[in-house]
Point group: C2
Chain length 187, copies 2
DNA sequence: TGAAATATGTCAACGAGGCTGACTTATATC
DNA sequence: GATATAAGTCAGCCTCGTTGACATATTTCA
């Protein structure tokens, strides 16, 4: 039975669902703050990232990666092109294609965004149980350090005493228990 | 040097950035399809999930978990309450609070959504290098199997020949190279 | 007891970023 | 020369985030 050894408990898929939510929330939070200063959003980030990393990408390839429509892509791509972060060249073998490249400015911004995300990842990998441990410990390490305690505390609440009320509500329509139920339209 | 042993290559933070994107894309794609049948979206899912898992959650706690505004939460919470998936009770120790619980229907839907996500996770954990290997192999295992080859192919493209054009564009304003540059407003 | 703080709900307006559908323009292919 | 393909665009819609202002019930504290 592989348990990774380090700080992670046994992997429960149910716990991982939440950890993935928290890890991703904080993972995209870093670049979001930077992007806001440029008037860009997450959609711009994704485009800039993939164009930076795979120069010469075509529109069709980008659409396949991002899984969004041409119209959605075009809105953010247009911003990035007009503001000089991305440039297009016509394809040489197929002149219908538009090959996408980052400009110098674009590459600089992409690097800045990559830096903060890579920093979080590197920090997580460097933690005990980060690189070689369980997915659980890796994802926990990806969460903002200040928040980790709160997440642990929440997840420890699993199952036992709810604090206030009792267990889950039984009926579909709300059969009045000890706590008053604020129903759909009941007086 | 910990390498996890199994199928993952050495962990590069830069690769992990992309793998996390692809893994998360497919991870939320599963429930999205189910939610659409109920006329719900991702925001409903998040609320339903946390209320199901932590019965008796207060509004304030939920806001802290989701990191959204009261108004945003209220819109989706209202849907879930009106349609009978979630019920509220007034708190007993503090009657200002509204404790949130899933109804039977709500718990059923939550379970259905959890099931597809847990299935993907369990499958990933069961793969060689899934539970005990590197984060890289775990994330790759989280990607939709049909898509894995495409992701690998894309990531293999890293660095070398672009296929069509040449390297990254140097100048800020677009100095005409061999491929014609379709500039901002140049004729 | 009365004032202030707290938990929640709500109205209005706005922006980002998805979507569909329809249509145009270049270019390639047969 | 007809047809298919890559890309761009217009219009309109939906979800889900935001801010700001304000109402109500309840608790806490001086």
């Amino acid at each position: 039975m592989p348990d990774g050894g380090a700080s992670g408990a046994a992997c429960s898929s149910d716990d991982l669902i939440e950890l993935l939510f928290f890890a991703y929330r904080d993972f995209v939070g870093d670049p979001d703050r930077i992007l806001a200063q440029y008037g860009f959003g997450r959609a711009h980030h994704r485009v800039l990232h993939f164009v930076d990393r795979y120069p010469g990408l075509t529109i069709a390839e980008l659409l396949d990666i991002l899984r969004i429509t041409k119209q959605s892509l075009n809105r953010v791509l247009k911003d990035l092109i007009e503001q000089g972060y991305i440039v297009q060249r016509t394809g040489t073998s197929d002149r219908r294609q538009r090959l996408l490249f980052c400009s110098g400015t674009g590459a600089t911004l992409a690097a800045e965004l990559t830096r903060v995300q890579a920093r979080r990842l590197a920090r997580a990998l460097a933690m005990p149980g980060g690189a070689g441990g369980s997915p659980e410990s890796f994802l926990l390490a990806m969460i903002e350090p200040d928040e980790r305690a709160a997440v642990r505390r929440l997840m420890a609440r699993r199952g036992q005493g709810v604090g206030e009320g009792v267990g889950p509500v039984g009926g579909e329509a709300g059969d009045a228990l000890d706590g008053k139920i604020l129903g759909q339209d009941a007086a």
